[in-house]
Amino acid sequence: MSPTVAVVGASLAGLSAARALRDQSFDGRVVVIGDEAHAPYDRPPLSKEFLAGKASLDDVTLGTPDDEELGLEWRLGTTAVGLDRVSRSVLLSDGSEVRADGVVLATGARARRLPGTEGLAGVHVLRSLDDAVALREDLASARRLVVIGAGFIGAEVASTARTLGLEVTVVEAMPVPLAGPLGTEMGAVCAELHADHGTRLLTGTGVAGLVGTGRVEAVELTDGTRLPADVVVVGIGAIPNIEWLADSGVALGNGVLTDARGVTNIPGVVAVGDCAAAWSVSAERHVRIEHWTHALEQPATAVATLLGAEGAVPTSVPYFWSDQYGARIQFAGSRREDDVARVVEGSCADRSFLVVYEREGTPVAVLGMNQPRLFTRWRRQLRSAVPTPS
Protein backbone atom coordinates (compact mmCIF):
# COMPACT_ATOMS: atom_id res chain seq x y z
CA MET A 1 0.00 0.00 0.00
CA SER A 2 1.32 3.44 -0.83
CA PRO A 3 2.16 5.68 2.12
CA THR A 4 -0.34 8.34 3.19
CA VAL A 5 0.15 11.86 4.48
CA ALA A 6 -2.83 13.55 6.09
CA VAL A 7 -2.85 17.34 5.96
CA VAL A 8 -5.25 18.66 8.57
CA GLY A 9 -6.30 22.14 7.50
CA ALA A 10 -7.10 23.37 4.00
CA SER A 11 -6.07 26.99 4.03
CA LEU A 12 -2.79 28.53 2.83
CA ALA A 13 -0.52 26.48 5.13
CA GLY A 14 -2.32 23.21 4.37
CA LEU A 15 -2.36 23.82 0.63
CA SER A 16 1.31 24.86 0.71
CA ALA A 17 2.15 21.65 2.59
CA ALA A 18 0.28 19.54 0.04
CA ARG A 19 2.04 21.32 -2.82
CA ALA A 20 5.40 20.87 -1.05
CA LEU A 21 4.80 17.13 -0.66
CA ARG A 22 4.41 16.74 -4.42
CA ASP A 23 7.19 19.19 -5.14
CA GLN A 24 9.46 17.05 -2.99
CA SER A 25 8.48 13.93 -4.98
CA PHE A 26 6.13 12.31 -2.48
CA ASP A 27 3.94 10.10 -4.68
CA GLY A 28 1.78 8.47 -2.01
CA ARG A 29 -1.72 9.45 -0.95
CA VAL A 30 -2.22 13.03 0.22
CA VAL A 31 -5.50 13.58 2.08
CA VAL A 32 -6.35 17.21 2.82
CA ILE A 33 -8.95 17.69 5.54
CA GLY A 34 -10.72 21.04 5.92
CA ASP A 35 -13.54 21.99 8.27
CA GLU A 36 -14.85 24.65 5.89
CA ALA A 37 -16.84 23.56 2.85
CA HIS A 38 -14.88 25.93 0.62
CA ALA A 39 -11.81 25.02 -1.40
CA PRO A 40 -8.69 26.86 -0.15
CA TYR A 41 -9.05 30.62 -0.44
CA ASP A 42 -6.93 33.65 0.30
CA ARG A 43 -7.79 35.48 3.50
CA PRO A 44 -6.10 38.90 3.10
CA PRO A 45 -8.65 40.19 0.55
CA LEU A 46 -11.54 39.35 2.91
CA SER A 47 -11.13 42.62 4.82
CA LYS A 48 -10.41 44.61 1.68
CA GLU A 49 -11.49 43.99 -1.94
CA PHE A 50 -13.81 41.11 -1.12
CA LEU A 51 -15.52 43.04 1.66
CA ALA A 52 -15.85 46.03 -0.66
CA GLY A 53 -17.52 43.83 -3.26
CA LYS A 54 -14.66 44.35 -5.74
CA ALA A 55 -13.38 40.77 -5.61
CA SER A 56 -15.40 37.63 -6.24
CA LEU A 57 -15.12 34.20 -4.70
CA ASP A 58 -13.27 33.16 -7.83
CA ASP A 59 -10.79 36.00 -7.31
CA VAL A 60 -9.89 34.83 -3.80
CA THR A 61 -9.60 31.12 -4.63
CA LEU A 62 -6.04 29.94 -4.00
CA GLY A 63 -6.09 26.82 -6.15
CA THR A 64 -4.67 26.90 -9.67
CA PRO A 65 -5.08 24.53 -12.61
CA ASP A 66 -1.65 23.12 -11.69
CA ASP A 67 -3.04 22.01 -8.34
CA GLU A 68 -5.48 19.73 -10.10
CA GLU A 69 -2.52 17.72 -11.35
CA LEU A 70 -1.35 17.02 -7.80
CA GLY A 71 -3.84 14.22 -7.19
CA LEU A 72 -4.88 15.46 -3.76
CA GLU A 73 -7.75 13.78 -1.95
CA TRP A 74 -9.99 16.43 -0.45
CA ARG A 75 -12.13 15.95 2.65
CA LEU A 76 -13.74 19.38 2.88
CA GLY A 77 -16.56 20.25 5.26
CA THR A 78 -15.11 17.71 7.70
CA THR A 79 -13.69 18.67 11.07
CA ALA A 80 -10.80 16.78 12.64
CA VAL A 81 -11.76 15.94 16.20
CA GLY A 82 -8.82 13.88 17.39
CA LEU A 83 -5.42 12.39 16.65
CA ASP A 84 -4.40 8.88 17.69
CA ARG A 85 -0.66 9.04 18.13
CA VAL A 86 -0.16 5.28 18.13
CA SER A 87 -1.95 4.45 14.87
CA ARG A 88 -1.32 8.00 13.62
CA SER A 89 -4.98 8.29 12.66
CA VAL A 90 -6.88 11.52 12.28
CA LEU A 91 -10.39 11.12 13.68
CA LEU A 92 -13.07 13.06 11.83
CA SER A 93 -16.41 14.58 12.85
CA ASP A 94 -18.33 12.20 10.60
CA GLY A 95 -17.02 9.24 12.59
CA SER A 96 -14.50 8.14 10.00
CA GLU A 97 -10.75 8.25 10.35
CA VAL A 98 -7.76 8.74 8.09
CA ARG A 99 -4.82 6.47 8.88
CA ALA A 100 -1.59 8.09 7.84
CA ASP A 101 2.14 7.57 7.89
CA GLY A 102 2.70 11.28 8.30
CA VAL A 103 0.48 14.07 9.58
CA VAL A 104 0.72 17.80 8.90
CA LEU A 105 -1.17 19.90 11.44
CA ALA A 106 -2.37 23.09 9.75
CA THR A 107 -5.63 23.90 11.51
CA GLY A 108 -4.91 27.61 11.74
CA ALA A 109 -6.50 29.99 14.18
CA ARG A 110 -9.93 31.49 14.77
CA ALA A 111 -11.00 35.00 15.63
CA ARG A 112 -11.29 35.81 19.31
CA ARG A 113 -14.82 36.85 20.18
CA LEU A 114 -16.11 39.26 22.78
CA PRO A 115 -17.54 37.16 25.62
CA GLY A 116 -21.29 37.41 26.03
CA THR A 117 -22.01 38.57 22.49
CA GLU A 118 -23.03 35.22 21.06
CA GLY A 119 -26.44 35.35 19.45
CA LEU A 120 -26.52 39.15 19.17
CA ALA A 121 -27.20 40.03 15.53
CA GLY A 122 -25.01 42.66 13.93
CA VAL A 123 -21.88 41.58 15.82
CA HIS A 124 -19.18 40.15 13.59
CA VAL A 125 -15.69 38.77 13.57
CA LEU A 126 -13.71 38.46 10.35
CA ARG A 127 -11.60 35.42 9.70
CA SER A 128 -13.37 33.15 7.26
CA LEU A 129 -15.05 33.55 3.90
CA ASP A 130 -18.44 32.99 5.53
CA ASP A 131 -17.61 35.73 8.07
CA ALA A 132 -16.81 38.11 5.21
CA VAL A 133 -20.01 37.30 3.30
CA ALA A 134 -22.11 37.85 6.41
CA LEU A 135 -20.36 41.13 7.25
CA ARG A 136 -20.63 42.39 3.68
CA GLU A 137 -24.37 41.75 3.68
CA ASP A 138 -24.82 43.48 7.01
CA LEU A 139 -22.73 46.52 6.02
CA ALA A 140 -24.85 47.03 2.91
CA SER A 141 -27.78 48.30 4.97
CA ALA A 142 -25.81 49.86 7.83
CA ARG A 143 -24.99 53.48 8.53
CA ARG A 144 -22.82 53.35 11.66
CA LEU A 145 -20.02 50.85 12.23
CA VAL A 146 -18.07 50.43 15.44
CA VAL A 147 -14.85 48.43 15.20
CA ILE A 148 -13.46 47.05 18.44
CA GLY A 149 -9.69 46.71 18.14
CA ALA A 150 -7.42 48.92 16.02
CA GLY A 151 -5.09 46.17 14.84
CA PHE A 152 -4.58 45.45 11.16
CA ILE A 153 -7.90 43.65 10.68
CA GLY A 154 -9.80 46.38 12.50
CA ALA A 155 -8.07 49.12 10.53
CA GLU A 156 -8.67 47.40 7.19
CA VAL A 157 -12.35 46.84 7.94
CA ALA A 158 -12.70 50.48 9.02
CA SER A 159 -10.98 51.58 5.82
CA THR A 160 -13.23 49.45 3.62
CA ALA A 161 -16.35 50.60 5.45
CA ARG A 162 -15.36 54.24 4.85
CA THR A 163 -15.17 53.57 1.11
CA LEU A 164 -18.68 52.13 1.40
CA GLY A 165 -19.82 55.42 2.95
CA LEU A 166 -20.32 54.31 6.54
CA GLU A 167 -19.71 56.38 9.64
CA VAL A 168 -16.91 54.53 11.42
CA THR A 169 -15.59 54.60 14.97
CA VAL A 170 -12.66 52.43 16.04
CA VAL A 171 -12.19 51.65 19.72
CA GLU A 172 -8.77 50.56 20.97
CA ALA A 173 -8.00 49.50 24.53
CA MET A 174 -4.29 50.32 24.29
CA PRO A 175 -3.09 53.94 24.30
CA VAL A 176 -1.49 53.47 20.86
CA PRO A 177 -2.70 51.08 18.12
CA LEU A 178 -0.22 48.64 16.55
CA ALA A 179 2.39 49.37 19.24
CA GLY A 180 3.04 45.62 19.49
CA PRO A 181 4.12 45.00 15.90
CA LEU A 182 5.40 48.49 14.98
CA GLY A 183 6.39 50.18 18.25
CA THR A 184 4.67 53.13 19.91
CA GLU A 185 6.11 55.79 17.65
CA MET A 186 5.32 54.19 14.30
CA GLY A 187 2.05 52.67 15.55
CA ALA A 188 0.89 56.22 16.24
CA VAL A 189 1.95 57.34 12.76
CA CYS A 190 0.02 54.54 11.05
CA ALA A 191 -3.02 55.21 13.24
CA GLU A 192 -3.18 58.76 11.86
CA LEU A 193 -4.56 57.25 8.66
CA HIS A 194 -7.89 56.84 10.45
CA ALA A 195 -8.34 60.56 11.05
CA ASP A 196 -7.05 61.36 7.54
CA HIS A 197 -9.98 59.43 6.15
CA GLY A 198 -12.76 60.48 8.48
CA THR A 199 -12.70 57.54 10.87
CA ARG A 200 -13.00 58.38 14.56
CA LEU A 201 -10.34 56.60 16.64
CA LEU A 202 -10.77 56.27 20.40
CA THR A 203 -7.70 54.91 22.19
CA GLY A 204 -7.04 53.82 25.76
CA THR A 205 -10.72 52.97 26.02
CA GLY A 206 -12.13 49.66 27.14
CA VAL A 207 -15.43 48.19 26.06
CA ALA A 208 -17.85 47.58 28.96
CA GLY A 209 -20.38 45.74 26.85
CA LEU A 210 -22.72 45.73 23.92
CA VAL A 211 -26.22 47.15 24.16
CA GLY A 212 -29.21 45.64 22.41
CA THR A 213 -31.67 42.80 22.56
CA GLY A 214 -31.69 40.52 19.57
CA ARG A 215 -29.65 43.01 17.58
CA VAL A 216 -26.80 45.25 18.64
CA GLU A 217 -27.70 48.94 19.07
CA ALA A 218 -24.64 50.43 20.72
CA VAL A 219 -21.22 49.78 22.20
CA GLU A 220 -20.85 50.91 25.79
CA LEU A 221 -17.37 52.01 26.82
CA THR A 222 -15.84 51.71 30.29
CA ASP A 223 -16.13 55.48 30.73
CA GLY A 224 -19.88 55.22 30.22
CA THR A 225 -19.95 56.56 26.64
CA ARG A 226 -22.44 54.86 24.35
CA LEU A 227 -21.52 54.60 20.68
CA PRO A 228 -24.61 53.91 18.57
CA ALA A 229 -23.90 51.09 16.11
CA ASP A 230 -25.79 49.26 13.38
CA VAL A 231 -22.90 46.83 12.99
CA VAL A 232 -20.02 45.95 15.32
CA VAL A 233 -16.84 44.22 14.19
CA VAL A 234 -14.66 42.63 16.84
CA GLY A 235 -10.99 42.47 15.79
CA ILE A 236 -9.12 41.49 18.93
CA GLY A 237 -6.80 38.78 17.75
CA ALA A 238 -6.88 35.08 17.06
CA ILE A 239 -6.71 31.82 19.02
CA PRO A 240 -4.94 28.74 17.59
CA ASN A 241 -7.20 25.80 16.77
CA ILE A 242 -5.52 23.17 18.90
CA GLU A 243 -8.20 22.03 21.35
CA TRP A 244 -8.88 18.96 19.22
CA LEU A 245 -5.34 17.77 20.03
CA ALA A 246 -5.79 18.02 23.82
CA ASP A 247 -5.74 14.24 24.39
CA SER A 248 -3.38 13.40 21.55
CA GLY A 249 -0.09 13.65 23.41
CA VAL A 250 1.10 16.39 21.05
CA ALA A 251 2.85 19.05 23.13
CA LEU A 252 0.80 22.24 23.19
CA GLY A 253 1.39 25.77 24.41
CA ASN A 254 0.23 28.90 22.62
CA GLY A 255 -0.08 26.65 19.59
CA VAL A 256 1.35 23.26 18.67
CA LEU A 257 4.91 23.31 19.97
CA THR A 258 7.50 22.42 17.36
CA ASP A 259 11.22 22.75 16.79
CA ALA A 260 12.56 25.26 14.29
CA ARG A 261 11.72 22.88 11.42
CA GLY A 262 8.09 22.37 12.44
CA VAL A 263 8.57 18.95 14.06
CA THR A 264 6.35 18.14 17.05
CA ASN A 265 7.19 15.80 19.93
CA ILE A 266 5.31 12.98 18.15
CA PRO A 267 7.28 11.18 15.41
CA GLY A 268 5.72 11.65 11.99
CA VAL A 269 3.70 14.68 13.02
CA VAL A 270 4.63 18.24 11.99
CA ALA A 271 2.77 21.52 12.43
CA VAL A 272 2.72 24.59 10.20
CA GLY A 273 1.04 27.97 9.81
CA ASP A 274 -1.02 29.86 12.38
CA CYS A 275 -1.63 26.85 14.66
CA ALA A 276 2.07 26.19 15.20
CA ALA A 277 4.41 27.77 17.74
CA ALA A 278 7.84 26.99 16.38
CA TRP A 279 11.09 27.33 18.31
CA SER A 280 12.78 30.55 17.31
CA VAL A 281 16.55 30.38 17.42
CA SER A 282 16.87 34.17 17.65
CA ALA A 283 14.12 34.73 20.23
CA GLU A 284 15.07 31.58 22.20
CA ARG A 285 11.42 30.68 22.75
CA HIS A 286 8.44 29.25 20.89
CA VAL A 287 6.87 31.88 18.65
CA ARG A 288 3.53 31.56 16.90
CA ILE A 289 3.57 33.60 13.70
CA GLU A 290 0.31 34.46 11.95
CA HIS A 291 1.80 36.00 8.81
CA TRP A 292 0.62 35.04 5.36
CA THR A 293 4.14 34.63 3.98
CA HIS A 294 5.04 32.35 6.87
CA ALA A 295 2.10 30.05 6.07
CA LEU A 296 3.23 30.06 2.45
CA GLU A 297 6.92 29.32 2.97
CA GLN A 298 7.32 27.37 6.19
CA PRO A 299 5.48 24.16 5.16
CA ALA A 300 8.23 23.22 2.68
CA THR A 301 10.72 22.82 5.55
CA ALA A 302 8.30 20.87 7.74
CA VAL A 303 7.36 18.58 4.86
CA ALA A 304 11.02 17.93 4.01
CA THR A 305 11.60 16.84 7.58
CA LEU A 306 8.50 14.65 7.47
CA LEU A 307 9.88 12.96 4.37
CA GLY A 308 13.16 12.28 6.14
CA ALA A 309 15.37 15.05 4.80
CA GLU A 310 17.68 16.88 7.16
CA GLY A 311 17.11 20.30 5.68
CA ALA A 312 18.60 23.50 6.99
CA VAL A 313 16.58 25.60 9.40
CA PRO A 314 14.89 28.31 7.33
CA THR A 315 16.31 31.77 7.80
CA SER A 316 13.50 33.81 6.35
CA VAL A 317 12.80 37.29 7.65
CA PRO A 318 9.25 37.73 8.98
CA TYR A 319 7.18 39.84 6.57
CA PHE A 320 3.67 41.21 6.63
CA TRP A 321 1.70 43.92 4.94
CA SER A 322 -1.51 45.85 5.38
CA ASP A 323 -3.44 47.80 2.78
CA GLN A 324 -5.66 50.45 4.35
CA TYR A 325 -7.07 53.80 3.24
CA GLY A 326 -5.17 53.46 -0.01
CA ALA A 327 -1.86 53.26 1.88
CA ARG A 328 0.44 50.28 1.55
CA ILE A 329 2.09 49.39 4.81
CA GLN A 330 4.86 46.77 4.75
CA PHE A 331 7.01 45.46 7.56
CA ALA A 332 9.88 42.99 7.61
CA GLY A 333 12.24 41.84 10.31
CA SER A 334 12.17 41.21 14.03
CA ARG A 335 11.65 44.27 16.17
CA ARG A 336 12.28 44.56 19.88
CA GLU A 337 11.00 47.17 22.28
CA ASP A 338 14.26 49.10 22.59
CA ASP A 339 15.10 49.23 18.87
CA VAL A 340 15.44 52.74 17.48
CA ALA A 341 13.21 53.75 14.55
CA ARG A 342 14.82 56.10 12.04
CA VAL A 343 13.18 57.62 8.96
CA VAL A 344 15.56 57.06 6.04
CA GLU A 345 13.28 58.18 3.20
CA GLY A 346 10.22 60.37 2.81
CA SER A 347 8.29 61.68 5.77
CA CYS A 348 5.55 60.47 8.07
CA ALA A 349 3.54 63.64 7.38
CA ASP A 350 3.46 62.79 3.66
CA ARG A 351 2.29 59.24 4.41
CA SER A 352 5.18 58.03 2.29
CA PHE A 353 8.23 56.91 4.18
CA LEU A 354 10.69 54.19 4.94
CA VAL A 355 11.70 53.59 8.53
CA VAL A 356 14.57 51.37 9.60
CA TYR A 357 14.66 49.92 13.10
CA GLU A 358 18.18 49.68 14.47
CA ARG A 359 19.66 47.75 17.35
CA GLU A 360 23.07 49.00 18.39
CA GLY A 361 23.37 50.60 14.98
CA THR A 362 22.47 47.46 13.02
CA PRO A 363 19.25 47.39 10.95
CA VAL A 364 16.94 44.63 12.25
CA ALA A 365 13.59 45.59 10.77
CA VAL A 366 12.08 47.89 8.20
CA LEU A 367 8.69 49.57 7.82
CA GLY A 368 7.46 51.19 4.65
CA MET A 369 4.37 53.19 3.84
CA ASN A 370 3.77 53.66 0.12
CA GLN A 371 7.41 52.81 -0.62
CA PRO A 372 7.23 49.33 -2.16
CA ARG A 373 10.36 49.60 -4.25
CA LEU A 374 12.65 50.86 -1.53
CA PHE A 375 11.03 48.54 0.98
CA THR A 376 11.81 45.55 -1.24
CA ARG A 377 15.48 46.51 -1.34
CA TRP A 378 15.66 46.77 2.42
CA ARG A 379 13.80 43.52 2.87
CA ARG A 380 16.27 41.79 0.61
CA GLN A 381 19.15 43.31 2.52
CA LEU A 382 17.72 42.09 5.83
CA ARG A 383 17.26 38.62 4.42
CA SER A 384 20.84 38.39 3.21
CA ALA A 385 22.06 39.67 6.60
CA VAL A 386 20.37 36.91 8.60
CA PRO A 387 23.07 34.59 9.91
CA THR A 388 22.54 30.91 9.21
CA PRO A 389 22.03 29.18 12.55
CA SER A 390 24.31 26.23 13.13
Partner: protein
Amino acid sequence: MIPVCPTTELPPGEATRVEADEPIAVFNVDGDFYAIDDTCTHQDASLADGWLDGCSVECPLHASCFDLRTGKVSGPPAKTPVRTHRVVVQDGMVYVQPGITADGAA
Protein backbone atom coordinates in the same frame (compact mmCIF):
# COMPACT_ATOMS: atom_id res chain seq x y z
CA MET B 1 9.41 49.51 -30.83
CA ILE B 2 9.44 51.56 -27.66
CA PRO B 3 12.83 52.86 -26.52
CA VAL B 4 13.44 52.01 -22.88
CA CYS B 5 16.84 53.38 -21.92
CA PRO B 6 20.54 52.96 -22.69
CA THR B 7 21.85 49.59 -21.47
CA THR B 8 24.13 51.46 -19.07
CA GLU B 9 21.11 52.80 -17.22
CA LEU B 10 19.75 49.33 -16.56
CA PRO B 11 22.54 47.36 -14.88
CA PRO B 12 22.19 43.70 -13.85
CA GLY B 13 19.65 43.17 -11.08
CA GLU B 14 17.76 46.34 -11.95
CA ALA B 15 14.33 46.94 -13.44
CA THR B 16 12.50 49.84 -14.97
CA ARG B 17 8.94 50.63 -15.94
CA VAL B 18 7.95 51.73 -19.42
CA GLU B 19 4.70 53.49 -20.11
CA ALA B 20 2.75 51.83 -22.91
CA ASP B 21 -0.95 51.04 -23.40
CA GLU B 22 -0.34 48.65 -20.54
CA PRO B 23 2.82 49.50 -18.57
CA ILE B 24 5.75 47.14 -19.16
CA ALA B 25 8.51 46.16 -16.74
CA VAL B 26 11.97 45.56 -18.19
CA PHE B 27 14.57 43.60 -16.21
CA ASN B 28 18.28 42.98 -16.56
CA VAL B 29 19.23 39.51 -15.32
CA ASP B 30 23.02 39.17 -15.53
CA GLY B 31 23.10 40.96 -18.87
CA ASP B 32 19.98 39.34 -20.34
CA PHE B 33 16.97 41.60 -20.74
CA TYR B 34 13.38 40.51 -20.15
CA ALA B 35 10.09 42.38 -20.44
CA ILE B 36 6.73 41.48 -18.94
CA ASP B 37 3.52 43.30 -18.10
CA ASP B 38 4.32 45.59 -15.20
CA THR B 39 1.05 45.19 -13.34
CA CYS B 40 0.72 42.10 -11.15
CA THR B 41 -2.24 39.97 -12.19
CA HIS B 42 -3.20 39.52 -8.56
CA GLN B 43 -3.59 43.14 -7.52
CA ASP B 44 -2.53 46.57 -8.58
CA ALA B 45 1.21 46.60 -7.97
CA SER B 46 4.22 47.38 -10.14
CA LEU B 47 6.43 44.36 -10.78
CA ALA B 48 9.30 46.68 -11.70
CA ASP B 49 9.34 47.51 -7.98
CA GLY B 50 9.59 43.81 -7.21
CA TRP B 51 12.29 41.53 -5.91
CA LEU B 52 14.40 40.01 -8.65
CA ASP B 53 15.76 36.55 -7.87
CA GLY B 54 17.35 34.84 -10.85
CA CYS B 55 14.76 34.73 -13.62
CA SER B 56 11.92 35.24 -11.19
CA VAL B 57 10.37 38.44 -9.93
CA GLU B 58 8.45 38.61 -6.68
CA CYS B 59 5.63 41.13 -6.50
CA PRO B 60 6.55 43.84 -3.98
CA LEU B 61 3.18 43.65 -2.26
CA HIS B 62 1.92 40.12 -1.85
CA ALA B 63 4.85 37.99 -2.96
CA SER B 64 3.35 36.46 -6.10
CA CYS B 65 6.21 35.20 -8.29
CA PHE B 66 6.45 35.29 -12.07
CA ASP B 67 8.97 33.67 -14.39
CA LEU B 68 10.44 36.45 -16.52
CA ARG B 69 11.08 34.08 -19.44
CA THR B 70 7.52 32.76 -19.73
CA GLY B 71 5.37 35.10 -17.67
CA LYS B 72 4.04 32.08 -15.81
CA VAL B 73 3.11 32.22 -12.14
CA SER B 74 5.77 30.52 -10.06
CA GLY B 75 4.33 31.47 -6.67
CA PRO B 76 0.84 32.36 -5.37
CA PRO B 77 -1.44 34.20 -4.72
CA ALA B 78 -1.48 35.22 -8.44
CA LYS B 79 -3.11 32.64 -10.70
CA THR B 80 -2.97 34.32 -14.10
CA PRO B 81 0.32 34.69 -16.00
CA VAL B 82 1.62 38.04 -17.19
CA ARG B 83 2.37 38.62 -20.89
CA THR B 84 5.97 38.66 -22.02
CA HIS B 85 7.30 41.15 -24.56
CA ARG B 86 10.25 40.94 -26.90
CA VAL B 87 13.29 42.99 -25.94
CA VAL B 88 15.71 44.25 -28.59
CA VAL B 89 19.10 45.73 -27.79
CA GLN B 90 20.49 47.90 -30.57
CA ASP B 91 23.43 50.29 -30.49
CA GLY B 92 23.49 50.31 -26.71
CA MET B 93 19.78 51.03 -26.41
CA VAL B 94 17.12 48.75 -24.95
CA TYR B 95 13.80 48.60 -26.81
CA VAL B 96 10.62 46.61 -26.21
CA GLN B 97 8.13 45.42 -28.77
CA PRO B 98 4.76 45.31 -27.03
CA GLY B 99 2.40 42.71 -28.41
CA ILE B 100 5.20 40.41 -29.53
CA THR B 101 5.98 37.78 -26.93
CA ALA B 102 9.52 36.99 -25.86
CA ASP B 103 9.49 33.82 -27.96
CA GLY B 104 8.45 35.80 -31.01
CA ALA B 105 4.73 35.03 -31.27
CA ALA B 106 2.49 37.94 -32.16
